[in-house]
């Protein structure tokens, strides 16, 4: 992101599968140059959310230049033939709008929120920087300091983020999801204007982009505007996306240990490699979402009852990360109370997982999880930004509008057998990385990260 912290998708926030009668009205069409357009109607207030999603992210960072997709996202706010550096956001601000951008491993997205009468102006600006960005050495150097500062404050300054980064690099043997989307610091420090420019020319084109407009508009209003702005951009006929390597079959459980005096408490983290919403067969991600909820989704979950209620931990939870093209993961976190050994809470985590794999879950647990997910989906539908993200991301991952809309029903049709099956299949030891965040021995407390062992 250009302005807000790069969120490490750990455990915060509910996941975005789910179900309700409040599905929005969504339409799509494609411009002659190959740019897909999605329009989501929400006529409550005369506001629109405008997003452009590029089907390129940190997973496309060429080897040795990790962080370039994210760096380019920052540089997209510099000058074009028409706009001076910084003028893009200034113009949005002057229209009373807000804007920002996000880079993940799979996508780079830019959004603006404005009163509906400014939609055309915003589309002209975004269409302009799709092809006409101009980068100068001086600005590139200063902005590189900004991304390095972003990394320092969001990753290096946060022991849990560091541990997670180390674990992901071990979870993925072969797939670029193992590299941090913000980049490794030593490579970020060498990113050049040329790196950014090459990446930009290769991937930023209408036929590699999706436009999402959510809000007080109709497809009939959006179509002529899209044709008059984005429609004039020439496609990149030679666009080839590099093939992403598959993961080999995992055969060994792995462990990562980080000792960091800045951590306030010890933390146990565990990741299991799983399919994502886009990569698995239909229903698989929905089952995994329900599974994660039942094991550690809220205060009624098995982990919470066994660890927090029993006063062994202050926090215990699970989360399923579904929003990725090639792979997802199930994550568990436990923060033990001060006097409790990490090994002890890990033993209980293992026991809870084993029970689910052996005996499955109850109908009552499954019903509760479905009900909660149904409500969460409606809460999400209350929010233009979240709706626009749901559809933009889904389409970027190659899903149809129908597939995205059907998630709700698929969640409701899962059975206890489905849940048990995905537990056995994906919560297998050899698919996991276990991470421990440890405090140094008392005598040497307060230092930064001291050792990372694998």
């Amino acid at each position: 992101m250009v302005r807000v912290g790069l969120l490490l998708a750990l455990f915060i926030g509910l996941f975005a599968v789910p179900a309700a009668r409040a599905e929005p009205r969504v339409n799509t069409f494609t411009l002659a140059n190959g740019m897909q357009v999605v329009v989501i109607e929400d006529h409550r207030v005369p506001v629109v959310t405008h997003m452009v999603w590029y089907r390129v992210g940190a997973a496309e960072d060429p080897w040795g230049t990790s962080g370039i997709a994210h760096f380019l996202e920052h540089l997209m706010f510099k000058s074009t033939g028409k706009l001076k550096s910084g003028e893009f956001s200034r113009t949005i601000t002057r229209l009373g709008g807000r804007d920002n951008a996000t880079t993940t491993h799979d996508t780079t997205s830019y959004f603006q929120r404005v009163a509906k009468e400014h939609l055309r102006a915003v589309m002209e600006l975004e269409a302009d920087r799709m092809l006409n960005l101009r980068l100068n050495e001086e600005e590139v150097k200063t902005e590189r300091d900004v991304i390095l500062a972003e990394r320092r404050s969001n990753v290096d300054g946060n022991p849990l983020s560091l541990l997670s980064e180390q674990m992901l690099s071990v979870l993925y043997h072969n797939h670029p999801y193992g590299r941090p989307s913000i980049g490794w610091e030593h490579e970020m420090a060498k990113l050049s204007r040329q790196d950014a420019s090459t990446f930009y020319k290769r991937y930023y084109a209408p036929n590699n982009a999706i436009l999402v407009v959510a809000g007080d508009v109709t497809p009939e209003e959006v179509r002529p505007l899209a044709q008059a702005t984005y429609g004039r951009n020439r496609p990149n006929r030679g666009l080839v996306r590099p093939i992403r390597p598959d993961e080999p079959k995992p055969i060994a459980a792995r462990r990562v240990e980080l000792v960091d005096g800045r951590a306030g408490t010890r933390i146990l983290l565990r990741y299991y490699l799983s399919p994502s919403l886009a990569s698995g067969p239909p229903g698989e991600a929905e089952s995994l979402e329900l599974l994660a909820r039942i094991i550690g989704g809220d205060d009624t979950s098995r982990l919470y009852r066994r660890l927090v209620v029993e006063k062994l931990a202050s926090t215990a939870g699970a989360n399923f990360s579904a929003a990725a093209r090639d792979s997802g993961r199930v994550a568990f976190v436990v923060i033990p109370l001060e006097e409790v050994a990490l090994e002890k809470v890990e033993g209980i985590l293992d026991a809870v997982i084993r029970e689910v794999c052996e005996k499955g879950v109850t109908e009552a647990e499954l019903d509760r999880a479905k009900s909660a997910i149904e409500a969460a989906r409606v809460f999400e539908s209350d929010d233009q930004m979240q709706l626009a993200r749901r559809y933009g991301e889904g389409v970027a991952f190659g899903q149809s509008l129908a597939q995205i809309g059907e998630i709700a029903q698929r969640v409701q049709s899962r059975s206890v057998d489905d849940i048990k099956r995905v537990a056995v299949e994906y919560l297998a030891r050899e698919r996991s990385v276990t991470g421990s965040l440890l405090l140094p021995q008392k005598a040497e407390a307060s230092a930064g990260p001291q050792a990372v062992k694998q």
Binding site: V45, P46, S153, D298, S314, T315, A375, A447
Partner: protein, 444 residues
């Protein structure tokens, strides 16, 4: 814990929201939003927005007082009271209560801010009656079971241990302690590792009986609900709370004069600073001018002077922002940023230069016009979800305004003249009054 974590806007965040409340040119888009002031049979007042397009209902409420009423030595009491409300109530044990919350898929949130208890509920409209019944139970009949108290206490202590390593929180907590050394307002709302162990069941039960008084309550209801149902829900949820409190609300407090920058030494790759000045109350006739000024200096947008000077020109920080904190107790202009330890001294120098120059010359006409345009144009952006509408309206009400504010706000901002902003800049931006707290190993 995810079902009991509705996004609530604590005071500071409300202020951030309010900063960008403004109405766009000419046509007043807030007319789409009809706020009705309603009252229940028992006389409980609320603001209601009927909005039937999404099948959900959001409630936000505030009860004045909050952590500022924690007795000395028992800091964190109001926070623990708020935590305990969702840990079993009436006949429902902790487990049974949470199972119902979970089955309903409702979001229920209760927390203590420095000057109020904040509550929030979001639920599907078809599940409203059952959800409201749980909120009623939580507010009026919490069990305060010993077992749950001990667990919540250990969770609180663990959170405090973590927070002690979050530079932002340490810097801001320390800032409040420096600015308000002898008042409850200067003490951390979450308590301290020393105070939390001292809180016993009787403290919680007693404070609960005093904190939640109807006379201090403000409620906003937004969503798929009609007026009669809303009015009935008010009595049902809040009707059995005591009418008045025996506690005396904290009066106005001003930050004390500053000392040299306070450094909390920690071995970190970067240093984090919190800085702040006394500012104007939201009732002050010059407050709209202060909002314009704050936007120009520290909105965090690329237009902002601090972003330009600290981030864009020098690459010293990723983000630098200021905000206006104004509640019933005090009014502040607060800001924060992080930079390398080696560059903290020069970054602070830049900050002071910006403030001095702004106090001397004021903004230039284009900065001034752009800020007004943003503040008026972005108004609607905080009114696009039921939950945001409820939060924004509650903030307006807590500030002592009426629903008319929605219409009046654009006029107030538009009426601000450049000379007003210059005057306010001279009055507020006094670098000699700047209180600065830094976490890290800064070179100053």
């Amino acid at each position: 814990m995810s079902t009991i974590t509705a996004r609530l806007w604590p005071r500071a965040a409300l202020c951030q929201l309010l900063l960008v409340l403004a109405i766009s040119m000419g046509s007043s888009p807030v007319q789409a939003l009809r706020v009705e002031e309603i009252a229940s049979a028992k006389g409980i007042k609320a603001w209601l927005v009927e909005e039937h397009s999404v099948p959900l209902i959001a409630i936000r409420f505030a009860v004045a007082g909050g952590a500022s009423l924690d007795p000395a030595g028992k800091e964190g009491l109001a926070t623990m009271v708020a935590d305990m409300l969702t840990e079993g109530a009436g006949d429902l044990t902790e487990e049974a209560f949470k199972a119902q919350v979970s089955s309903l898929g409702m979001r229920l949130s209760l927390s203590a801010g420095r000057d109020a208890i904040y509550g929030g509920l979001e639920t599907l409209s078809k599940r409203f009656a059952a959800s409201a019944a749980l909120l009623r139970l939580a507010l009026t009949a919490p069990r305060f079971d010993e077992d749950a108290i001990e667990r919540v206490r250990s969770q609180r202590l663990a959170d405090l241990a973590m927070a002690a390593n979050e530079p932002n929180r340490v810097a801001v907590d320390r800032w409040y302690r420096e600015a308000f050394p002898d008042t409850a307002y200067g003490r951390p709302a979450d308590g301290t590792p020393q105070s939390v162990p001292r809180i016993v069941r009787e403290d919680l039960a007693t404070q609960h009986s005093k904190l939640l008084a109807r006379s201090l309550l403000k409620v906003v209801i937004v969503g798929d609900i009609d007026k009669a149902t809303a009015a009935a829900a008010l009595d049902n949820i809040f009707g059995d709370l005591p009418e008045r409190t025996q506690l005396t609300l904290l009066g106005k407090v001003d930050p004390r004069p500053p000392t040299a920058p306070i450094v909390v030494e920690k071995d970190l790759p970067s240093a984090t600073v919190a800085f702040g000045l006394p500012a104007l109350a939201s009732k002050d006739a010059d407050f709209p001018a202060l909002e314009v000024l704050n936007h120009i200096i520290g909105s965090g947008d690329f237009d902002a002077v601090l972003t330009e000077e600290i981030r864009v020109k020098r690459g010293l920080a990723y983000s630098v922002q200021t905000g206006l904190v104004h509640d019933s107790i005090t009014s502040l202009l607060l800001g924060a940023f992080s930079t390398k330890n080696e560059t903290m001294g020069s970054a602070l120098g830049v900050l002071k230069e910006v403030l001095v120059k702004m106090a001397q010359d004021g903004p230039n006409p284009s900065q001034f016009e752009n800020a007004k345009r943003y503040l008026t144009g972005s108004f609607l952006l905080d009114f696009d979800t039921n939950a945001k509408v409820a939060s924004s309206l509650l903030g307006i009400w807590v500030d002592g305004d009426t629903p008319d504010y929605l219409q009046a706000r654009n006029q107030k901002i538009n009426a601000v003249m450049l000379a007003d902003v210059k005057r306010v800049a001279r009055e507020v931006l006094k670098t000699q009054a700047l209180i600065v707290t830094i976490v890290g190993k800064p070179q100053l």
